[in-house]
């Protein structure tokens, strides 16, 4: 009986998860305005993220770019069989970036970068229909990177550098669909870990085929963020030896998957720039989210089974006049979540991204960069089929609809 109960409660623990695809592609307002292209664009210090090899081609000795976005994203869930619906009330996410480069000599430029390529914040109403999978989650990861960009010839450069990651996670869900204390309060667990460190690297190359045509390639390594000794706190657990959940520590690992970008840019009539990027994110590393509890609490294994996913990005830039540069873009972002693994921590299906923006060149040295992104998601009927209860798998099914509107502001400074 007790073993069964354990299985019921934790065999299916649905997740300390962040998001079905918790990649947040907002690493530069100029790039974002052009569909988040940039692996083959030499524009400003945003290259530190998109292709460090290109930093050496920037004209100025010192280049700085910094900015932040405001992510307004909400998800609605409904199930028409039972007439239930819920909507997330997620805090506004504020991913940011700060990049700087310094030209040491004709063939070497050094740089520093800080950015937030992964993260998620989803807050469902407490005790909603999917609360056995997630009530709320907040995942943050800050990447800090030292960079070197080396010119091999006027046509070819290489770049890259080591990455330090500092991450945190806070996640809450109910222990199962029905367990309560005597007063009917749902039993739940919060796992919390912060200050988790990890290391990785990126490497890139840029090739200028002609004056107008560039090619770029950038690879950022997978970084496994391993939380050790995080706090697991159990609330509203019945006072009973049948449910012996006590606060404890946990270990868990979450991958920040590797990403490969290849692309090109083509300049036309001096005023127009077209860019295309292809991203491959190696999500298949995210097979399962496993949480090991330090005490006798049974470990929690949650299949995710993500697949590698592609993103196709297109951008266009137009130099309108001395002060204004206009940009538009589009991308198609394939979800790494496979059908039947649609968990509400990040209920993300394929997205069409429409972007636009502009730069105002306030002076020779200083520009303001603005961009906005509108993500269009189809309404989708999906389920997560790997939650189990007393040995039975119990799908969590419904219709999801996501919206995301993301305005952002940044600055570019060059000296």
């Amino acid at each position: 009986m007790r073993k069964l109960l354990f299985l019921g409660l934790f065999g299916l623990m649905a997740a300390v998860t962040y998001a079905g695809g918790y990649r947040v592609s907002l690493q530069g307002q100029r790039s974002l305005a052009m569909g988040h292209t940039g692996v083959a664009v030499v524009n400003n210090a945003e290259l530190a993220f998109f292709n460090p090899a290109g930093l050496v081609y920037l004209e100025n000795k010192i280049n700085v770019a910094a900015g932040a976005s405001a992510v307004f994203s909400n998800v609605k869930y409904q199930n028409s069989e039972f007439g239930i619906s819920s909507e997330t009330d997620s805090a506004v996410g504020t991913p940011f970036y700060v990049y700087g480069s310094y030209r040491v000599n004709d063939w070497l430029t050094l740089g520093l970068a800080a950015y937030t390529p992964y993260g998620s914040s989803v807050e469902w109403p407490t005790d909603w229909a999917g609360s056995h999978l997630v009530n709320n989650i907040d995942l943050q990861a800050i990447y800090i990177q030292a960079l070197a960009s080396v010119k091999i010839s006027d046509k070819l450069s290489v770049g890259g550098g080591p990455i330090y990651v500092n991450g945190s996670v806070n996640f809450n869900r109910n222990l199962n669909r029905t367990l309560t204390d005597l007063d009917g309060n749902r039993s739940n667990v919060t796992v919390d870990a912060s200050g988790v460190s990890a290391f990785g690297w990126s490497a890139s190359a840029m090739y200028n085929a002609t004056e107008d045509l560039r090619f770029g390639i950038n690879y950022r390594s997978e970084i496994m963020v391993e939380a050790e000794g995080g706090d697991a706190t159990f609330q509203n657990v019945p006072n009973s030896p049948l449910t012996p959940f006590q606060d404890t520590q946990f270990d868990a690992a979450l991958p920040m998957p590797a990403e490969l970008s290849v692309g090109l840019s083509y300049e036309l009539l001096d005023k127009w720039l077209f860019a295309f990027d292809y991203n491959m994110t190696y999500w298949d590393v995210y097979e399962s989210l496993d949480i090991d509890f330090a005490n006798a609490t049974p470990d929690s294994n949650n299949p995710r089974n993500y697949k590698n996913s592609s993103t196709y990005r297109f951008g266009l830039q137009y130099l309108a006049n001395e002060t204004v540069t206009l940009r538009v873009g589009y991308y198609f972002d394939e979800s790494p979540v496979q059908s039947g693994y649609f968990a509400p921590e990040t209920p993300r299906n394929d997205a069409h991204g429409f972007t636009g923006g502009l730069s105002l060149h306030v002076s020779d040295r200083f520009s303001i960069d603005a961009a906005f992104l509108y993500n269009r998601y189809e309404e989708v009927d999906e389920s997560y089929n790997y939650y189990t209860e007393n040995g039975e798998t119990v799908p969590f099914e419904g219709t999801y609809k996501t919206s995301a509107f993301i305005p952002g502001l940044g600055v570019t400074y060059k000296l």
């Binding site: 069989e81 229909a129 029905t178 367990l179 007063d183 049948l242 039975e392 609809k401």
Partner: protein
């Protein structure tokens, strides 16, 4: 420059106001339909099952998970309805106080003591619900634990003064609009547009749960003369039930009536096996030796004397064997041989004669109430040769014999004919709870997490008292009612997800 910022600000505002929208949102008007029914003022009438009584007590979370409250939440998805009001208890402990003295037990919780996982009375807090503290109504859930069919129309059934003398019900006293009010009166005063009625269970259950100590009041048309453990006369039932349905249906758009389950389908009567006595070969042989004279001399002698039939003698044989054995019991329907065997040629002492007077061994059709499980196999006094259910037969109150069950079945069948007949005559939705509970007991009812069955504690349908439903059991009942309403009134009320409703509560604050 400033202008650009302005545009960005406007853009940002537009973004904030942009919400995801479904093509067919379930939370907007028109997603579901009330059909020809009007749920705007729904009133539920009934007994403990309607009140949300569970685990041998009424408490807040049980009331929240009562089927009428579940229904009201689903009705609300089809139209605007008036708040569904409930005379909530003061706590989740469940016991009642009258003038500060506890008059009913706290709820049962599933606890583990010395390795035994059993329902025990929760002692984590003193009850705080004072009967004399009358709640201000009106209340949509008019379910009154303990009420029989003829109680709903009884004036004064909620009079606090009548509780001690048994003419009033403490649960109704808590929320009756006036000491002299009846449940029906308070219900009709709300001018219900829709009603549910599930009453009559206690008309047989009072008899059943006491092991059939009462009588079947067939042809006694005066319910005021009935004892609590009697079976209500079917004609009395028909008359009061019909009166209630007429009164409720007169101004309502519709209603649903629910029939009476077979008592033998609930774990209170099926949990304790009749062959509950384990014996080794040696003990069985010793016991057979004890009963040898009874089996081979007394019974044949009485047949020979024409005192009992050969058939009855056969039914009174006592035999034990290695393994599980049927309990012994006193069956009041047997010929009392107590006097006869004190005389010649048997000349038994009065004590032995008393034990043998209406003795027989149980058969698979007998039922033992859950509350009698504690007595089985215990010694009388400290005498190891006087074991209850073995050498000492169980009393009448500890066994519901097949003959007693026949009376219950007869009454239940007749009540149910009345209920389905009135449903049809008045165009009301009808739910066959009798068939539903039989299905729970035989095959179980499937849901997304497996099967809900009548198994005690583990089956999921019945609370720890073995009679009343868990929240999950209430969800199943609610779905059946919704089915019936949708069919009868051409409505589209969404069902509930059974797996989202819990079963029994664990707690170790017990004594």
């Amino acid at each position: 420059m400033k202008q650009y910022f302005k545009y960005i600000a406007i853009l940002a505002l537009g973004i904030v106001s942009c919400e995801p929208e479904f093509d067919n949102p379930v939370d907007e008007a028109g997603a579901y339909s009330n059909g020809e029914a009007d749920f705007s003022r729904y009133v539920a009438l009934g007994n403990s099952l309607t009140a949300g009584y569970a685990d041998n007590a009424l408490y807040i979370t049980g009331q929240e998970n009562s089927y009428p409250n579940i229904l009201a939440q689903q009705f609300e998805k089809t139209q605007d309805i008036q708040d569904f009001t409930i005379p909530f208890m003061s706590d989740n402990a469940g016991g009642l106080l009258a003038g500060g003295n506890q008059i009913t037990n706290n709820r049962l919780v599933l606890s583990v003591v010395n390795g035994d996982t059993l329902p025990r009375v929760y002692t984590g807090m003193q009850p705080t619900t004072e009967v004399g503290n009358v709640q201000q109504g009106p209340f949509s859930n008019m379910g009154v634990p303990g009420a029989k069919s003829y109680h709903l129309g009884a004036a004064g059934y909620g009079n606090v003064q009548g509780i001690a003398v048994g003419t009033a019900n403490p649960y109704f006293a808590r929320f009756a609009s006036a000491p002299n009010a009846s449940v029906m009166e308070d219900a009709l005063a709300q001018d219900p547009t829709f009603f549910s009625l599930w009453i009559g269970n206690n008309d047989v259950l009072g008899y059943a749960r006491t092991g059939g100590t009462g009588v079947y009041q067939l042809n006694n048309l005066q319910p005021s003369t009935y004892a609590d453990n009697d079976i209500t006369d079917p004609n009395v039932f028909a008359s009061v039930y019909s009166e209630m349905v007429q009164a409720l249906a007169a101004n309502a758009s519709g209603g649903v009536v629910i029939n009476i389950p077979d008592v033998a389908s609930v774990p209170f009567f099926t949990r304790v096996p009749v062959n509950a006595i384990p014996l080794d070969a040696q003990t069985a042989a010793a016991l057979n030796q004890q009963f040898s004279a009874y089996n081979t001399q007394v019974l044949p002698g009485l047949v020979q004397a024409g005192f009992i039939t050969a058939e009855e003698a056969q039914s009174r044989q006592i035999n034990f064997a290695e393994g599980q054995n049927y309990v012994t019991l006193q069956d009041e329907s047997l010929t009392n041989i107590g006097q006869a065997i004190q005389g010649a040629p048997f000349n038994l002492d009065p004590q032995t004669a008393g034990l043998l007077s209406q003795l027989r061994q149980a058969t698979p059709t007998d039922l033992i109430p859950l509350t009698s499980s504690g007595i089985l196999g215990t010694p009388v006094g400290d005498n190891p040769n006087m074991i209850n259910g073995v050498s000492v037969p169980l009393g009448d109150e500890h066994v519901l014999t097949n003959a007693e069950q026949e009376l219950i079945r007869d009454a239940t069948t007749r009540y149910n004919q009345v209920i389905s007949g009135l449903a049809e005559a008045n165009g009301l939705a009808f739910v066959d709870a009798n068939a539903m509970l039989n299905k729970l007991a035989s095959d179980g009812i499937s849901f997304d997490g497996g099967f809900v069955t009548s198994d005690f504690v583990t089956g999921g349908a019945f609370s720890l008292d073995g009679i009343h439903l868990t929240p999950r059991g209430n969800a199943i009942v609610s779905n059946r009612i919704i089915d019936a309403i949708n069919t009868t009134y051409n409505a589209d009320v969404p069902k509930v997800n059974v797996g989202a409703y819990g079963t029994v509560t664990y707690n170790n604050e017990v004594q």
